[in-house]
C-alpha cells in the first residue's frame, strides 16, 4: 500500500495531490497538463515536490517534515514509459536483466524467466530494441520494470503510441501481470476507455488537484458532469461475446444484445464494452430503415443537466446514459418514464477483454 501527500507551488503551476493506492489497479486520468505525470515522477523519485510525504508499505520514502528523501534507485518502483524508453544499446535480455541484477537477492520475488514467459518474450531475448515492433517494445518495458520486483508499478500512458489492436493485447498482458503478481498498479492515461477495463479505482486530476477518487464508472460520471475535464462520458458494460459474421460481432449484455464491429473473439468470451454517451441518438418512437445496427427500447429513469449538457439515464436492461442537448430534449417531449429508443452504430462501440 502506498499513501502520499504532495505539494508543489511554482510560478504558473500548483500541484496538491494526496491519496492512497492499494493492491488494485488505480487509473489516474485527466486532461494533458493536469499533473498526472508530475504525480508519477514524484512517486518514482525523479522529481522532488516542495513539501509533503510518501509512504510505501510503511516505509517513509519522502517526508519534507523529517527531511527524508529516498533516491529513485532505492525505491524499487517499476515504471513503464509511453514509448518504452528501452536502452537502445542493450539486447532485450540485458534490458530486462539491468534492474534485476541490482536488486539484492533476498528482495527478488519475481523470476525473470517467469516474467519473460508471461509476456511472451522468449523468442525476442537476443533482439535489439530497434528490431522490435511498438507492442513488443512495451512488453519488454513491462518485463524490465517487473524484473526489479517492484513494490509499486507505475504506467505512464503505456499504450499512447500503439494502434487499437496492440492496445488491446498489451492491456491483456497487464491484466495477466496484475492477476499473477498482485503488485499495486497506477495507470496514467488521458484516455478513459483505455483504463476502465482494468482499473478497480480511478483518480481524476485536473489543474494539479484531485477532482475525484472512486470506482471508475462512478468517477466517469462525475467527470462527465464536471464537463470540461473529460471529453465525453463512457458507458461501461460487461458482456459476453455472441455470434460473429464477417463484419459484425454480437455482444450479449444482460437481456439485450448489441452489434459491434467484427471482433476476433470466440463466443462465450467475457468482454467490457464502452459506448460514448454522445454517440447515442435518442428517439421517442421506433425508427425504421436505419443504417445504425443498434436500436434498443427502454424507459427514461432520470434526467439531469450540467454545464449546458443534458444527460438521460435510460433503462434498456442495463442502464445507459445518453447525452443530448436541452433543445432536443424539449422538442422530443421526453421526460422521466417516457418510453424511448436508443440508436447507435456498431462502430461506436469499443470492446475490450474483461
Amino acid at each position: 500500500m502506498i499513501s502520499f501527500d504532495l505539494r508543489i507551488d511554482r510560478r504558473g503551476f500548483s500541484f496538491d495531490v494526496s491519496g492512497q493506492f492499494d493492491e488494485g489497479v488505480t487509473a489516474v486520468f485527466g486532461p494533458s497538463g493536469a499533473g498526472k505525470t508530475t504525480l508519477l515522477n514524484c512517486l518514482a523519485g525523479s522529481m522532488r515536490p516542495d513539501s509533503g510525504s510518501i509512504e510505501i508499505d510503511g516505509e517513509n520514502v519522502y517526508s519534507s517534515a523529517d527531511g527524508i528523501w529516498v533516491r529513485p534507485e532505492k525505491r524499487r518502483i517499476g515504471t513503464v514509459y509511453q514509448d518504452g524508453a528501452l536502452f537502445p544499446h542493450l539486447s532485450v535480455r540485458r534490458n530486462i536483466d539491468f534492474g534485476w541484477k541490482l536488486v539484492p537477492a533476498e528482495q527478488r520475488r519475481l523470476d525473470p524467466l517467469e516474467i519473460v514467459e508471461l509476456l511472451g518474450l522468449s523468442d525476442l531475448l537476443e533482439r535489439m530494441p530497434s528490431e522490435l515492433s511498438g507492442g513488443e517494445r512495451q512488453r519488454v518495458a513491462i518485463a524490465r520494470a517487473l524484473a526489479i520486483s517492484p513494490r509499486l508499478f507505475l504506467l505512464d500512458e503505456p499504450l499512447a503510441s500503439l494502434d487499437v489492436a496492440r492496445k488491446g493485447s498489451i492491456l491483456n498482458y497487464l491484466k495477466r501481470v496484475h492477476d499473477e503478481f498482485k503488485i499495486p498498479m497506477v495507470y496514467v492515461s488521458h484516455s478513459v476507455t483505455e483504463v476502465v477495463s482494468i482499473a478497480s479505482h480511478a483518480m481524476l486530476i485536473r489543474d494539479g488537484s484531485v477532482l475525484g477518487f472512486d470506482r471508475p464508472s462512478a468517477l466517469l460520471l462525475t467527470a462527465a458532469l464536471d464537463g470540461s475535464s473529460v471529453e465525453r462520458f463512457e458507458n461501461i458494460l460487461h458482456g459476453v461475446v455472441g455470434e460473429s459474421t464477417d463484419q459484425l460481432t454480437t455482444i450479449e449484455i444482460d437481456r439485450i444484445s448489441i452489434s459491434t464491429r467484427h471482433q476476433n473473439k470466440n463466443p462465450g468470451e467475457k468482454v467490457v464494452v464502452s459506448l460514448g454517451a454522445n454517440q447515442i441518438i435518442l428517439a421517442p418512437s421506433e425508427p425504421n430503415q436505419l443504417s445504425a445496427r443498434n436500436v434498443l427500447k427502454g424507459r427514461v429513469k432520470e434526467i439531469w443537466s450540467s454545464n449546458g449538457k443534458v444527460f438521460a439515464e435510460v433503462d434498456v436492461g442495463p442502464e445507459i446514459i445518453v447525452e443530448l442537448t436541452e433543445s432536443a430534449l424539449n422538442e422530443l417531449g421526453i421526460s422521466v418514464r417516457s418510453d424511448v429508443f436508443l440508436i447507435f452504430k456498431s462502430s461506436s462501440v469499443d470492446v475490450f477483454d474483461a
Binding site: E73, P88, G99, E131
Partner: protein, 230 residues
C-alpha cells in the same frame, strides 16, 4: 638541435598527459553543463570557454603566474616536484590541457546532449545510482562523440604553441614541442627541417580531423536510425 623523432615523442607525451587531464575534467564539466541546473552554471561555461577567446599568450602568462611560487598552486607543485613547475614539460602539458579544454567540453556536452535523459531516469528507477547510470547508459550511448572530442582535444594539445612557450619555454629536449621546434627552425632559417615537422603536423591534423568527423557522422546516423524505428 634535437632529432625530429625525439621532438615528436616529447610532443606526444605532453599531448597525451594533457588529454589524460582534460578527459575526466572535461567530462565532469560537460556532464554538469548538460544535465544539471545550478547557480554559477553560466559562469562555469564562460570560464571554461575563455581560452577560446583569449590570445594563447595571455593564457600562458596567467598560467605562469599560477605555477609561480607565490600562488598556492605553485607552492604545492614545488613541494611535490621539488622545484618550480615553470619551464618543465609538466607546465607544457598543463598549458596544452587548459587550451584544449574548451574544445573537449564542447564536444562532450554535445555528445551527452544526444543521449535521451529519460533513459537515465529509467535506469535510476531500475535501481542504478547516478555513477553506474553514467557508465552503463550515458557513456556507452555517447562514446563516439566522446572519442571524437578526446581526439579533437589531443590534436589541439599537439598544436599548442602560444601558451606553452610562455609557461614552459622552448628548451630543446625538455619542453620543445613540434610547433616550438618549427618556430625555432624557421627563425634559424633552416627551412628544410621546418618543413619536415610542418608536414608531420599537417598529416597528424588531417588524420585526427578525418577520424573525428567520421565518428560524429557515424553517431548521428546511428541515432537517426533508432529514432526512425521508434
Amino acid at each position: 638541435m634535437s632529432s625530429d623523432a625525439s621532438i615528436i615523442v616529447l610532443s606526444f607525451q605532453i599531448a597525451l598527459v594533457a588529454t589524460g587531464v582534460t578527459l575526466p575534467v572535461g567530462m565532469l564539466i560537460a556532464w554538469l553543463l548538460a544535465r544539471k541546473q545550478f547557480h554559477g552554471k553560466f559562469a562555469l561555461d564562460v570560464f571554461v570557454s575563455l581560452p577560446l577567446a583569449l590570445p594563447p599568450v595571455v593564457v600562458g602568462y596567467a598560467l605562469l603566474w599560477l605555477v609561480g611560487t607565490h600562488s598556492w598552486f605553485g607552492s604545492l607543485g614545488e613541494s611535490v616536484f621539488g622545484s618550480t613547475l615553470a619551464f618543465t614539460w609538466i607546465a607544457a602539458a598543463l598549458a596544452a590541457a587548459v587550451v584544449s579544454l574548451p574544445l573537449v567540453v564542447r564536444s562532450f556536452t554535445a555528445a551527452l546532449a544526444g543521449v535521451d535523459p529519460r533513459l537515465e531516469v529509467a535506469a535510476r528507477g531500475l535501481g542504478s545510482g547516478s555513477f553506474r547510470t553514467f557508465f552503463t547508459i550515458t557513456l556507452p550511448l555517447a562514446y563516439r562523440g566522446v572519442i571524437a572530442g578526446a581526439l579533437l582535444g589531443f590534436v589541439r594539445a599537439l598544436s599548442e604553441f602560444g601558451a606553452t612557450i610562455v609557461v614552459a619555454g622552448n628548451i630543446p629536449g625538455r619542453t620543445q614541442t613540434i610547433p616550438a621546434a618549427i618556430f625555432t627552425r624557421i627563425s634559424a632559417g633552416d627551412s628544410d627541417a621546418a618543413w619536415r615537422l610542418t608536414i608531420v603536423s599537417i598529416l597528424l591534423g588531417v588524420m585526427a580531423l578525418a577520424t573525428h568527423n567520421w565518428l560524429l557522422k557515424l553517431s548521428s546516423t546511428v541515432s537517426r536510425d533508432s529514432s526512425e524505428v521508434g
